[in-house]
Amino acid sequence: MSAVVDHHAADDHHHHGPQSGFRRWLFTTNHKDIGTMYLWFSFIMFLYGGSMAMILRAELFQPGLQLIEPEFFNQMTTMHGLIMVFGAVMPAFVGLANWLIPMMVGAPDMALPRMNNWSFWLLPFAFSMLISTMFMEGGGPNFGWTFYAPLSTTYAPPSVTFFIFAVHLMGISSIMGSINIIATILNLRAPGMTLMKMPLFVWTWLITAYLLIAVMPVLAGAVTMMLMDIHFGTSFFNAAGGGDPVLFQHVFWFFGHPEVYIMILPGFGVVSQIIPTFSRKPLFGYTSMVYATASIAFLSFIVWAHHMFTVGMPLAAELFFMYATMLIAVPTGVKVFNWVTTMWRGSLSFETPMLFSIAFIVLFTIGGLSGLMLAIAPSDFQYHDTYFVVAHFHYVLIPGAIFAIMAGVYYWLPKWTGHMYNVPLSRLHFWLSFIGLNVAFFPMHFVGLAGMPRRIPDYALQFADFNMISTVGAFLFGVSQFILLVIVIQCIKGGRKVSAQVWDGAEGLEWTLPSPAPYHSFTTPPEVR
């Protein structure tokens, strides 16, 4: 409640623009500053988690153990997963939301600016704690980002307690961020901006924010139960005391599956903004897009056990989760068809954001189709926990979430900085990423089908060729991300000045603001017809 009251006080003494020096960043309640910090934080985490992936891929370049020991390999897979999910993808989308939602709905700032500051500043603490576990006795978390009990409870290294607290902090940060986003969207819209007139990015974020406040508390519950099992002698997940390790998986995936959509829905939103702009044509089927997003979100709550087809569920449960999972293909298909139809008979041009968006549609669809294959429970007995799964979720997460984020950054960066970025360099970035990612992850389908389990530091000889190719692709992808760093820094420092409109086909309130966008977005609410 106090945050609500604070909001106006904070607003009042901020009419003068940013403070100077580090205090600007430490105490800021401005949605653009906070959005910027989220994006930088996420980029740093992206590089950090990415360098862990490079270590993994380097070890997997050839059969045999060359660089690291299995114990450390497991820590790397775990940290890579945790950092990419909670440190790179989620904060990046929150950063985009912070920057864009007030501008898109015609608000001066976020609804709860002070809470906004807290929700960001929790993250560096959370991740410092998580990363510090790597230097503790017994090493950091080594039980996979899914931390199945009892490997993560009875058999975990002592640092697991810090891991649990770090997850708690990340959870609190996300929940606060989400409440803020919900409040902004529901309460600060400009007059005339009805729900069904909101840009799709805002819609997808509204739905994502609801998913977040629904499932992050469940994750918090799960890690709290772990904490109690480890330190207070309870037996939630310990069969000895009447608990059940499979229960952990149910609780985790009840969080985990919606989490997957949390990482992709805002990406759908970004792409739904960009495709119409560069097709110079309104988005096809706006209403069905909204309903499709909502149904995906709803379905995400009833499909969790498809991650557990081999766990020994009764036949009826297997069938239920198989059918429910297959159903998700319907709304997802609707979205893809809508995007393709939006491009159909448009007037297309291929600026960098559009390149990323087209790659998004193509590669995300491939990931979606392999997801459909995984949904078939009988075949999942052969796919489960192999590199086929690794290929699948990297296809939905890199060209899905990460390409959407990059598309969004290239699309709105001129609006944020007032400068056009280095276009040829951005194309180089796109092509190297695109090629690198396909070279890295496409062969993983093959090794997975041929029988290579995931999360192993060393493998049998028949997997050697494709693993070598994967590693080369991964390094290409990894190295090319530094191009993005150069482009962004160049663009902040200077470059060709852009108009308020930036892209000729762009529509939405954010393009009515001057470029760079002023420190306070809409001090007087715009009229929306």
Binding site: N187, A214, M216, A239, H250
Partner: protein, 192 residues
């Protein structure tokens, strides 16, 4: 001014969101008992009831068919006991009350407490296996080097579906030392 209603609306949005957050946190914990109920109904994991079965009635034995019941024993990593079924399998009529034993020997040089955790396969058959008396209902203390016959009295429900011919009852013995309230008198008796 429309400022006031806006503030009230904002407060309402926040209240609702916080309510969802708290609700879902408790829902996470509520999943634990919900899951147990769910397991009992559907037989996930082949969990059997931890309670003594009281519904034995005489004369309802189904002589027309038999069910093969296999006994399996495992020990957990932290459990230095030898643990095995007294007999590997029994052929029983549904409705008939039968007895068998498991044999346990504490290999350790100290007194210990074990807890046996049952699991039935196929899972769906779990609810048709009634335990009238089972060593898994309590923790089992055993003195260093001592041996014990752990009794099990059970009945297979006459309602068991016709297509189930074989049931496997597995017990895994866990170390319950940390959670155990040690039963000193039992240990003392075994030592003598």
């Amino acid at each position: 001014m429309e400022e006031q209603p806006k503030q009230a609306e904002l407060a309402r949005t926040i209240r609702r969101s916080v309510l969802i957050v708290c609700g879902m946190f408790f829902f996470g914990f509520a999943l634990v008992p919900l899951y147990d109920v769910f397991c009992e109904v559907t037989g996930i994991n082949g969990k059997t009831s931890g309670e003594r079965y009281e519904g034995v009635t005489a004369g309802k034995v189904d002589e027309s068919r038999t069910v093969r019941l296999q006994f399996v024993a495992s020990t957990n990593a932290e459990m230095p006991w030898e643990f095995r079924p007294g007999e590997f399998e029994l052929v029983v009529h549904p409705g008939e009350v039968r007895d068998t034993v498991y044999l346990a020997r504490n290999l350790a040089e100290r007194d210990m407490v074990g807890q046996a955790v049952p699991s039935v396969s196929p899972g769906l058959a779990a609810k048709y296996l009634h335990k009238v008396e089972c060593f898994c209902f309590q923790q089992q203390p055993l003195a260093a080097g001592a041996e014990a016959e752990l009794p099990l009295r059970f009945m297979i429900d006459p309602e068991i579906p016709e297509d189930i011919h074989t049931l496997t009852l597995s017990y895994t013995l866990f170390n319950a030392d940390r959670a155990a309230v040690r039963n000193k008198t039992v240990l003392a008796q075994q030592r003598n």
